[in-house]
Each structure stands twice: as C-alpha cells, then as structure tokens.
Amino acid sequence: MSKGDLNLLEGDSQLSASTLPPSEAAPQAEVTRRGFLKQSGGAASAAALLSLPKASAAATVPVPATGPAQVLGPGAVPATLLVNGKPQKVMIEPRDTLVTVLRDRLGLLGTKLGCDRGGCGACTVWVAGAPSLACMTLALDVAGLAGQPPQAITTVEGLAKGSVLHPLQQAFVDKDALQCGFCTPGMLMSCAALHEQARAAGKLASVGEKEVREAIAGNLCRCGAYPHIIEAALAAAKLPTAPAPGKGGVK
C-alpha cells in the first residue's frame, strides 16, 4: 500500500496540511469520515437531504425502496428506544449514535466507548438480538418513530436478572475473564449473543473454542484477558440449565 493510500484511508487526514492553508488545517476542522457520517445522519438524514429544494448534490443518493421519505432533523426529534425491554422516550438528533444516546441521555453507562469508529467492540450491544456496534449505529435507525416500531436493544445492564448475574457474567468472574474491565461489557454482549444463538439452535452445549474466538474477534482487550474469556464462555455454555437472559431476548 502506498503512503498516499494510507493517507486517504486515514479518515482524519483527507484534507491534509499541504492542501489547506495553515489556519484551516487544524485537525478538528477537517472533514472526517465519522464527522461526515454523523453530520449527514445516515439513512434518516439522507432522506432529509432529499427533501431540500435544489438538493442537486444529493440527487445521486439512492431513494429508499419502501415508502415515502420521512423528513427528520436536523434538530432533535422525539422518539422511543426499547432498551432492555423498557420503552424509553428520548429526544434524538439524526446525527446521534446509539452509544451516545444510551450513555448520555439514558444513563446506561455500562456500554463503553473505546474508539467511536467500530474498531474495538467496546460499545457492543444487541439490536434485535444481533450483536451490533453502538458507535456505528445511528440511534434513529433503531428508534421507534411514527410508523416505525422500535427495535429491541439489549445492553450489559439487561443481562442480569436483578442482582442475579447472567451465567456468562458469573463465568467471567469465576474465570477472571477480565482485568481493567473496560472491554468487558462488549465482550459479554458478543459472547452472550453467541450463546443465545446457539441455544436457539439447540447447540449451546457444543459451542466450541473456535466459535467463541470468532464471536469476539471484533472485541479488543488490551489487557489480554482473551484466554480466560474463552475459558469463561466455554464453561458457561456447558452449564446444564443456563437460563435465558433477563430482558430483550435474542431472536
């Protein structure tokens, strides 16, 4: 890969110092991939762009195949998030990511933000039962709006049943499957999704090491707790009566 390629791939360097006068080249002033995503607000605001008069630049954006475009934003709009089985009314801007809304608006601080661009998995939650990166998910895309039911979101706070830990959480404690603990919520959500999917297929007891490694392949742990995490995930899968998680179960 040439240096030029690297430079282009580095989202934050797309407009480099050499192409901008110094006063405009401050890193925070650059167009970033993440910034662009958040500013444009993904699907919901792509629709918003379409609704603008003389939106010639947006004319190439493909029109969603189903239904008329819904105009949302740029300000916050009332929406409902279904989190851990509980519907929650919340104001959401089109640019808000799911992790921001969970943490900053709903106070669900168990979900962590590690990189804000899908590189570390610390923000992993379930959306409709599938492990998803909350930093790469726009909140409005999973929220309940007029004519759109909310998708079920499950966070680490939704794994335990009251004060009784989910068997996987208990296994993480028993096997010391964590050190600093910052990646732990995301790790748990990835492992638990694997377990729930295996359970639904009647194959929980036969979950193997390879599947666990693949399930957490997108979750980074800088402390290097992986060996104990794998042990914990395998041990919990072998438990005779692992109950289903508390709320917002898995498809």
């Binding site: 580095e10 943490r103 962590k112 966070t155 050190q179 600093c180 603990g181 979750n219 800088r222």
Partner: protein, 798 residues
C-alpha cells in the same frame, strides 16, 4: 530492632531459614503459601461483579450536575512557532462556556526553559494548544474550529535516518533532560547533545567502572574466538489502553478546592501535578479513581489534558469532562520508543560469554530517555558488559513509560543475539543460557519450561517438516528470557479498621488499573485476622486515603501489601489489648482459629469468635496504620543491575510461518515466571497472559506510522494500528514459581512488567527456527517475512 526467621528459596526446590533484623512490632514471617489459609489461594476478584454488570464507573462514566464537555485543540503541524492564540471567536460559539490556552507543556523533554514558554513551540503533530468547554461535545468541535492560532511553520524531521544528519531541523536547541514517572522512564543525566542526538549515556553493570568495562569489552570482542554482531530495530508502539485518558474536574469555588476523577495509574501523581501547575496546596486537590480502564505506563500525572480540564472547570464555574478520543491517544499521550541497537557478543570456546556490547539509538520523538540497555546490563554472568544509549529526537509525540520501559526492545536484540551465538558455537540455545545465567529463578524456570514445552524435540533450524497442502507451512520453536526488578515505593501506606460489629475495612490510596489490587489486599488482611475475604471492605482510589503507590514498574503489590498486612497486625494488637482490659484477662489474648483465646484468673476463657470479641470493644473501632518499610536487612530494593533483587521469566514459543503469504501465527506459549510470593495465582496468571499477548502484538502487528511528508500519524485508530485480537492468541500455559526471599512481611514482588519482556524475542527466535532466516526488525510483518525469504533464496531486491 528484633530478629525474625524467614523462609528463603524456591518452594518445591528447597527452602532455607534465614534471620532478618526487623523493626520491633513487625509481624512474624509467613511460611510458604501452602501453610496459609487466604494468601496463595485464588478467590475471584471482589470487584468482579461490578465489572461484569456494567456498574463499575470509569472516568468517562462520571456525570456531575451541570457538567460541561471539553475538547483539545491540537497542532496540525509537527514543528511550528506559536505566536498568538485567539479564543475570542470560539467563546462566542453556541454552548461554549470557557476556553483556555495551555499554560504549561508536560510530557515533552525539558530544555531548561520554563514549561510556560515550551508551549510557544510546537514539536509534534497533535501537540495540545488550547481547549474549550461547552454544553455538548459537538459544540466543542464546532468551537475549536474558530480558535485562531498564528503558527510560524518550521521545517521538521520525523525520519530516523534524516534526524541524525547534522543538517536536520533541530527538535531542541538546548540540552534537555526528562522527568521520569512512577512507571519509569525519564533521563536526568546531563549528556552531550549535538543536533538531534543526545548521548551517549554510557553504562556498565552496577558497581563496575564504565571506562574499564568499555576497554575490556573492546578487547574481548577482538580476542573472540567466537562472536556475533548484528543490528536490531524496533518500532514505536502506542499504549492503546481501551479507556482513553480523561478527567472530570470540579471546583468548589467557596472552598477553592478541586476534585477530579481521573483515569490514572497514580492518583497522587495527578494530585501533585495539579497542585504544582495550578499553584494550589495539595490539600486542596482531591483525586478519585474507582476504576481505570488500563494504563500500561502512559497514565501518570495530570497530563496536559488534565491541567486543561481543571482550568476550564475553574473558568466556566462548572464541572468539566475532558476525555480524549482514540486518535489523540496515538498522537500525544506517550508511546514505547523505537530503537536501533548494534549488539556484539563474544564467547570463549567453552561457551562462556566474554563480552556484551550494545550501542545504539532510541527514538522517543520529542521525549528523552529512550533506552534499551536493561537486559544487557542485568541478565547474564559476563565479565565485560558495556552499553551506549543515545536519544534521537524527532518531531513526533514524546515517549512515556510503557510496561517494562526499554526491556522488550533490549531483550529483542540480546535474546536473538544469544541464539545467534548458540548457533555459532553449535550448542543448544537453552544450554547456552544455562552456561551463562546463574539467576536461581530463571534457572528453575528454564528447567520447568523446557520440560512442559517439550524443548528437547526442537528440530534444527530450517529442517522442520513442511506442512500444508503445498509444503508452504513451516513450524519453529524459540525461547527467550527476561529480567525486571523488585521495585518498591516506600511512601505506600495503609490503614486497617476493625469495627465493633466485626467488620473490617482497608483504606489505602492505591488504584486498580486491571491487576485487581483490591482482592490481594483483602486476602492479606483476611490472613492476618483469620477471616474470610467477604468480611473485608476495601476502599481505594482516593487521595483522601493514606497514600498508596502509583501502579507502575510492577511496584503495586510489592509496595502496598506489606504495609497493609502490618496495619492489620497493628489493628489486631490494638483489638487484643482492648479485649485484655475489657475482659480483665491475665495477659493479652491471642487470635487462634478465628477465635480470641485468653486466660482469666489462670483459667482459659471460652473462645470468643472474632465478631463477638469485637462487640466487646468499648470504642467504635480500633485501627492500625503502617507505611512500607525498606526491605528487611540483607536484601536490597532493586535497581537496574542489582542481581539479587532481579525478577526473571522464561518463555518458549511455537510459531507457524506461511512461506507463501509471510503470515506468522503463534501456536502456543509456555511461560514460567516468578513474582516473589504470589498472593492470588489466578490474578497473576491473568497478568502473565496479558504481558504475553501484548508481546505477541508487539512482535507481529503494532507500529505507529508517521508520514515523512507531513509528519502526521497515519494510523491513529484501531483499524490500521492493529493490536492482537482473540484470533491471534495462542494457547498459553503458565508456570508460576513461589520464590521467597525474606524481604518484607508479605514477600511479594510484581509481575506486570516481567511478563512482557521476553515475548517478542521468543517469537523472533521461533520464526528463525522455522524458516532459517533471521528477522531483526519489528514488527515481523508478512512483508518482512517474504523479503527475508527472498534474500535467503538470493532473489534480487524488488
């Protein structure tokens, strides 16, 4: 002073009894772990449930009423003069409540000018300049774009070769020094400095004359008869803790007191920095760290971001949260410096080393102290050892202490050179180390590792079977060993309170960065008071508590567990004295089997369970407090080269190399380590796993890349800055020695650093064994493997 008996030796190999002179009131020495009820067992972490439930609160999780968000403006230039910073437009932006210019620059080498003038010069891309606080994070981003900075852009150099040329733009005009941190690093020596080269710093093993050693090395290298000489290069690695650096700062205006929540390895280092740079007494600063999402050496002191957060909070009159983003982590808060080491070894015909020489350069950007000489100076029994280390400054982010500063780099060169020498001498690499290393722990570790790993089945280099459909897969095994030091922070203090209801509390200002220090503390006190650990509450992470050690240099448990045990012992004595008075006993009662037993009027009393005994106290609580004493009599606290205080570590690795793609996969690791008395083997295993995995990641994947054209960091993220993931992790077997030396009331040493020292070298030696061509530069990428294989075949360079 009084004398006590202490056990000394490796459990399972042989224990002797020795005498130590200790201060009066020192608790008796524990025997080996097998004789203990709590210590040496592996209870699960007492804060495990907090971490798995999402309840554990890290700095970025702190929410204060009316809290503002803050972000740092960073220089887009690697080298510039800053003439003027105009905040006026930014202050007018929506939601903005405060904006400040960075008043002092921390983290960079010190050129003798006031730190307040250092800010007028940018020396690396991403250097902090100013910061704003606003109601939302998005508003801070908008506001930063309105700050006007007049930069006088200057020529820069980031390339290692270019920087050494006399014509290269200078990073510093004045001679510099560098403060270290509790995690190590720093360089206080006044050294020669020409252009961007500072040094060499000349060293020989402790207690030897440097000039004489240098001469002896030169002579031995000439005499031979057997010698090897090669150049090894290592890359810049970033700490990449999952939780980024951050601080939440809140002022109490009436009391003029500052409270901060910090993601830190050393709460007292944060307090002291804030007191110094904000010019307020340390008593007016409180630092709280309930949980820290990893540090690895980069999280000491307040940092520029911390000073900015505190200033913004003061200016805005509201709490401020400033948490760095992932990109800033790679740019501006430290790294493991790169190195270029020219190493030469000489040995006699019998394989005994006659000379070790390492001369080279460290690349710590705008920071000083990028050394690598530790392993060469400390590890082998060699009559002549000489090291020259020079810093080469470049216009890039300054180094910080990073897990065993200098040692993975040094081991990468030394341990491969040892293998090269073994080959030259036609001896097994393990045998060569046995011949030249008398360190008792490592000797035992080599033995046990070799037996568990199956070292004797090693095939000669390049002669292993060809696997895979096309014979493209080659396997190899390699070993390397490491060293670190028994280091102790003598300011570590703890308090233990026994309450009337029988509950027990430990209070100490240490912090958990992932090692899980709460649990060993509880075990130590449970052992002393004959309780179960669930009876003990551990309160840490607050500068209002007695000062604890910073968690760096593998000092934490070695420093704080003895003080904590002694505090518990003192509290126990106070309790027993109280009971003697209350119960009118003939003499001070004793604690036996969890009961208080004593004699009254010549007759034994009915044994009183601990809680019932506590209930008889006339006061609400008794307390004991203690500060870490220096190590007992005969032993010395470790410094580089102090063999007696050295920790070992031996690792053996099997790799698979795909000769078509160049991909290296580590298949398995057997690692033997010593850390004095392991308090909680489960937690020690976790740390050893972590050290090995970081070492594999360093060996194969990680490298911070700079653009020579712009001086920018090209891979300031986790997509292009790769760290090891679950699919990269091999099977790891840990062998843990229990090595007693009679040093303190717990006889504990650290494990964080030793575990990562030998790994990259062991991987490299295994790769050599697999493919028969040595790779002397990190990381061992597929491209480097393919290039090495091509040069082996004699292919022309592409």
């Amino acid at each position: 002073m009084s004398r006590i008996e202490v056990p000394v030796g490796i459990v399972g190999v042989g224990l002797n009894s020795e005498q130590r002179e200790v201060p009066d009131g020192t608790p008796p020495a524990w025997r080996d772990n097998q004789s203990l009820a709590q210590v040496g067992k592996s209870p699960t972490r007492i804060d495990g449930a907090d971490k798995v439930s999402g309840r554990a609160r890290y700095t970025a999780d702190i929410v204060r009423p009316g809290m503002l968000h803050a972000k740092v403006l960073r220089s887009p230039h690697p080298h510039a003069r800053v003439h003027r910073v105009d905040l006026s437009e930014a202050l007018k932006m929506p939601g903005v409540k405060a904006a400040v210019v960075l008043p002092h620059l921390l983290g960079i080498a010190d050129d003798g000018s006031a730190r307040s003038t250092l800010v007028n010069r940018v020396r690396y891309y991403g250097q902090p300049v100013a910061a704003v606080a606003a109601q939302t994070l998005e508003q801070t981003v908008d506001a930063l774009s309105k700050i006007k900075v007049d930069y006088d852009v200057l020529p820069f150099v980031v390339d290692r070769e270019e920087a050494r040329k006399p014509t290269a733009p200078k990073v510093f005009e004045q001679a510099v020094t560098a403060r270290g941190s509790a995690g190590g690093g720093g360089s206080k020596d006044k050294l020669n400095q020409q252009g961007n080269i500072r040094g060499p710093r000349r060293s020989a093993p402790r207690g030897r004359d440097v000039d004489k050693q240098a001469a002896q090395v030169t002579q031995a290298l000439l005499a031979g008869p057997h010698g090897v000489r090669a150049t090894y290069k290592t890359q810049v690695q970033t700490h990449s803790a999952l939780e980024t650096h951050g601080m939440v700062a809140e002022w109490d205006r009436a009391k003029e007191e500052l409270t901060v929540w910090a993601s830190t390895q050393g709460i007292f280092s944060v307090r002291d920095d804030l007191a110094e740079y904000l010019d307020i007494p340390a008593t007016k600063v409180r630092v709280i760290t309930d949980f820290c999402g990893g540090g690895f050496g980069a999280k000491f002191g307040a940092g520029n971001y911390g000073v900015l957060a505190a200033l913004l909070a003061k200016e805005a009159g509201a709490p401020v949260r400033l948490v760095l983003d992932r990109r800033e982590e790679h740019l501006a808060v430290g790294n493991r410096p790169g190195s270029e080491q020219n190493i030469a070894l000489a040995a006699a015909a019998d394989g005994k080393l006659t000379a070790i020489e390492v001369k080279g350069f460290g690349f710590g950007g705008a920071g000083a102290g990028a050394g690598f000489g530790g392993p060469a100076l400390s590890m082998y029994d060699c009559p002549a050892v000489y090291v020259e280390e020079s810093d080469v400054f470049t216009h890039s982010g300054p180094l910080a202490a990073f897990r065993a500063p200098g040692h993975p780099q040094g081991a990468f060169a030394l341990e491969q050179a040892m293998d090269e020498l073994a080959e030259r001498l036609h001896v097994d690499p393990l045998t060569l180390r046995d011949l030249n290393d008398s360190h008792p722990a490592r000797r035992e570790e080599r033995k046990r590792t070799a037996a568990s790993f199956g070292w004797s089945s090693r095939t000669p280099t390049g002669q292993g079977p060809r696997l895979g459909k096309l014979g493209e897969i080659r396997r190899g095994i390699g070993l390397a060993q490491g060293c670190w030091y028994h280091l102790v922070n003598l300011e570590s203090s703890a308090e233990v309170r026994i309450h009337r209801d029988g509950s027990v509390e430990i209070l100490t200002g240490v912090q958990d960065i992932g090692g899980g220090v709460r649990t060993p503390l509880a075990q130590v006190v449970a052992e002393e008071l004959q309780l179960s650990i669930d009876k003990i509450k551990v309160t840490i992470g607050d500068t209002r508590l007695p000062p604890g050690p910073g968690s760096g240099g593998s000092v934490t448990t070695a420093s704080i567990t003895p003080a904590t045990r002694e505090a518990a012992y003192a509290a126990k004595q106070a309790l027993l004295k109280e009971l003697q008075a209350v119960l009118s006993l003939d003499q001070q009662p004793e604690l036996q089997g969890g009961n208080v037993v004593g004699v009254k009027g010549g007759k034994p009393i009915t044994p009183l369970p601990f809680a019932k005994a506590c209930a008889r106290m006339r006061r609400a609580e008794v307390l004991g407090s203690a500060t870490r004493q220096p190590d007992y009599g005969a032993t010395a606290t470790g410094k580089r080269g102090n063999f007696a205080a050295q920790l070992g570590g031996v690792q053996m690795v099997e790799v698979e190399v795909n000769t078509f793609t160049g991909v290296v996969k580590v298949l398995r690791v057997v690692a033997a380590h010593d850390c004095g008395r392991p308090v909680n083997p489960l937690l020690v295993h976790s740390q050893i796993h972590g050290g090995i995995i970081q070492g594999i990641s360093y060996a194969l994947f990680e490298e911070r890349r700079l653009d020579p054209r712009t001086g920018r960091v090209l891979n300031g993220n986790f997509e292009q800055y790769k760290i090891a993931g679950a699919l990269d992790v091999p099977k790891i077997d840990v062998i843990l020695l229990e090595e007693l030396r009679g040093r303190s009331s717990t006889d504990v040493s650290g494990i964080g650093e030793p575990a990562t020292v030998p790994t990259a070298a062991a991987v490299a030696n295994a790769v050599y064994n697999a493919i028969g061509v040595r790779i002397r530069e990190l990381p061992i990428t597929p491209a480097r493997v393919l290039a090495a294989l091509a040069s082996q075949r004699g292919d022309a360079k592409p």
